[in-house]
């Protein structure tokens, strides 16, 4: 099919140019759909009631986009429907054979209404193959202005009912960009599909390295706005009043440990950069590494027991692992002379990292237990700073493949490369949020 050819072209483009060492080792990484064909799902337009009519079309579009975004579900073209495009009722059974007949493995039906200043969606999900409901009838509501977010979060829940793992279309990506027209690096936010980009900081200084609190309610980032590099924390709906730590030292980056809610801190005291741990309020400082070498880039395993980090203790930057229980440290990467930016996958199975190669920088995946390494993104220009989607299916990263530094995302199996920041200055350091409530 055309789609398959397109994927092959993309892969050829990814692997083209400099044939990277080890590219032939590319392995297939398992995703839920297994067969390569995602679940085909028919979506009847939600029946509008009590003011829901004006919201119906945008809601439906966002729902369909959210379902398709998952990569695990594909929405069936409604031109094929043998039954009405719109939900008639949430009571009673459906004619499963009719839906199976058009290739639908599932059916989504719902109602949409306005209550006060909220949009309320009530929906149910059918497994048309077994001809039974997937879960119960569910009501979900959000403020009217969050109409698209309501649709996307319902899409993510529907993905969970089919695959067992929540979708990520309602998550967000924080990133750094100088797209303000004045060349200042500020923190920005976009939706997981790259839409609705807006500024988080606007201090005219240098702002770097956003990292999400596990609950998605705040971000920490590095800023030079006080004249020196410091860590700041910003909550939704507010602006920060003071740096996170009062400690007089250069603080280069803070990274959340999603399990404990504490922060890994990259800090230089007396010129030597080491890793520390602090709680989310900036208190309870503990030292994690103590060598004379540079240590940066902490990334915590999802169980919180281990930390990947970068050290140049062997002469050049390499990725190391630290067992936070025993304190044992060992080197993980041995191939190449400059490896950095480890990002532990939410499933715990992989660490994505940036490797310097002859042409520039490429992204690799390494198994933290066996050291098995496989290329993820290989291109003559530079690809850097990987960040995982919370379902572990996608990776956002920055790339200079079209000149300026821009943010892309790719499926972990190397498919579906998408540019997310066209015409938005130089953009870098994507930080994918966890699941948002």
């Amino acid at each position: 099919m055309m789609r398959g050819a397109f994927v092959r072209l993309l892969l050829a483009g990814l692997l083209g140019g400099a044939p990277a060492a080890g590219a032939q080792e590319r392995i297939q990484i398992e995703v839920e759909s297994g067969s390569g064909r995602g679940y085909q799902v028919a979506v009847q337009s939600f029946l509008p009631r009590r003011g829901g009519f004006t919201h119906s079309e945008p809601f439906h579009s966002a729902l369909v986009e959210g379902l398709n975004f998952s990569g695990a579900l594909e929405v069936v073209d409604e031109a094929a429907f043998l039954e009405p495009r719109q939900t008639a009722s949430l009571r009673g059974r459906i004619d499963c054979a009719n839906w199976r007949g058009i290739g639908a493995d599932g059916l989504v039906q719902g109602m949409l209404e306005v209550r006060g200043r909220e949009l309320v969606a009530t929906y149910r999900v059918w497994d048309t193959v077994r001809c039974r409901l997937q879960g119960s009838v569910t009501e979900s509501r959000r403020a009217l202005r969050e109409r698209e977010l309501l649709a996307r979060s319902i899409a993510d829940e529907i993905v969970r009912r089919f695959t067992g793992k929540r979708g990520v279309s309602s998550t967000q990506i924080a990133f750094v960009s100088d797209g303000d027209g004045q060349g200042n690096k500020e923190i920005y936010l976009m939706e997981a599909d790259g839409g609705n980009k807006r500024a988080v900081t606007g201090n005219g200084s240098i702002n770097l390295f956003p990292s999400w609190a596990p609950d998605g309610r705040s971000l920490v980032y590095t800023s030079f706005k006080s004249g020196r590099s410091d860590i700041w924390k910003i909550y939704r709906g507010s602006i920060p009043g003071h740096p996170l730590l009062a400690e007089r030292a250069e603080k280069f980056r803070a990274v959340f440990d999603a399990r404990s809610g504490r922060l890994g801190l990259v800090m230089s005291r007396g010129g030597n950069t080491d890793l520390y741990s602090v709680d989310a309020s900036g208190a309870g400082l503990e030292r994690l590494t103590g060598s004379r070498s540079i240590e940066t880039s902490p990334s915590f395993s999802p169980d919180g027991r281990r930390m990947a980090f970068v050290s140049d203790r062997g002469g050049a930057p390499q990725v190391y692992l630290k067992d936070l229980g025993t304190g044992e440290e060992r080197r993980l990467t041995f191939r190449g002379g400059y490896n950095s930016s480890p990002a532990w996958s939410p499933t715990g199975e992989w660490i994505a990292y940036t490797a310097r190669t002859s042409g520039g920088f490429d992204l690799y995946l390494i198994d933290p237990d066996t050291g098995f390494t496989t290329p993820l993104v290989v291109h003559p220009r530079s690809d850097e700073a990987p960040s995982w989607s919370p379902d572990g299916r996608k990776i956002a990263f920055s790339s200079t493949r079209r000149g300026r530094q821009e943010i892309y995302r790719i499926d972990v199996d190397g498919r579906n490369l998408v540019r997310m920041t066209a015409r938005f200055g130089n953009s870098s350091h994507p930080a994918w949020s966890g699941f948002l409530e």
């Binding site: 969050e146 977010l149 500020e186 936010l189 807006r198 500024a199 988080v200 900081t201 606007g202 201090n203 005219g204 200084s205 240098i206 770097l208 390295f209 609950d215 998605g216 309610r217 705040s218 971000l219 706005k225 006080s226 004249g227 020196r228 590099s229 910003i234 909550y235 939704r236 709906g237 602006i239 920060p240 009043g241 250069e250 280069f252 980056r253 990259v266 230089s268 007396g270 010129g271 030597n272 950069t273 540079i294 240590e295 940066t296 880039s297 970068v310 140049d312 050049a316 930057p317 400059y338 950095s340 930016s341 940036t354 310097r356 920088f361 850097e384 700073a385 870098s428 948002l436 409530e437």
Partner: protein
């Protein structure tokens, strides 16, 4: 004198921050609301610079992923030390910088190491530690934009900013 001016700058800076940034309201944070954006920015970065506009402090340069002082760098640092010793009122902020290649975060640490290397050498040459301060911009403050070894070589450096 200089310290007093510096203190004033810091104080004005702090007041500036306070007027543009009301205290953060952290109650009932939501997981879907909007962040900021904060407003306000850096004030005039440096009011002491004008006084030392003609001072002859020179940058030093490094090899890739390296913070060791090359013979040329040591020669320049001896010159900078002479300038500092001849101007006892002068304090400097040593700013470490890197080229654009590699991890931005690692480069902040590397820039710090470069700044510290210069500071230690100046101290060895008799400059009092209280007149020296260090900072790293990593790869965020290039002297020359663009890629290629010519630009990179100019960006792997320490700058010496009068204070």
């Amino acid at each position: 004198m200089v310290i007093r001016i510096l203190a004033l700058v810091v104080l004005v800076g702090a007041l500036g921050c306070r007027t543009t940034e009301p205290p953060a309201a952290v109650e009932e944070p939501s997981s879907s609301g909007e962040f900021g954006p904060e407003d306000g920015g850096l004030g005039d970065r440096d009011t002491t610079a004008n006084r030392w506009a003609d001072i002859d402090l020179r940058s030093i340069y490094f090899d890739f992923d390296d913070s060791s002082l090359k013979p040329e760098a040591r020669q320049v640092l001896r010159h900078n030390a002479d300038v500092l010793l001849a101007n006892p009122d002068l304090s400097v902020q040593i700013e470490g910088n890197c080229d654009e290649r590699g991890s931005d975060e690692y480069n902040l640490a590397l820039g710090m190491r470069r700044a510290e290397a210069a500071m230690r050498y100046l101290q060895d040459l008799g400059v009092d530690a209280s007149r020296l301060d260090t900072l790293s911009y990593g790869e965020e403050n290039p002297q020359v934009s663009g890629s290629g070894e010519a630009a990179w070589a100019r960006n792997r450096r320490d700058d010496f900013q009068p204070r």
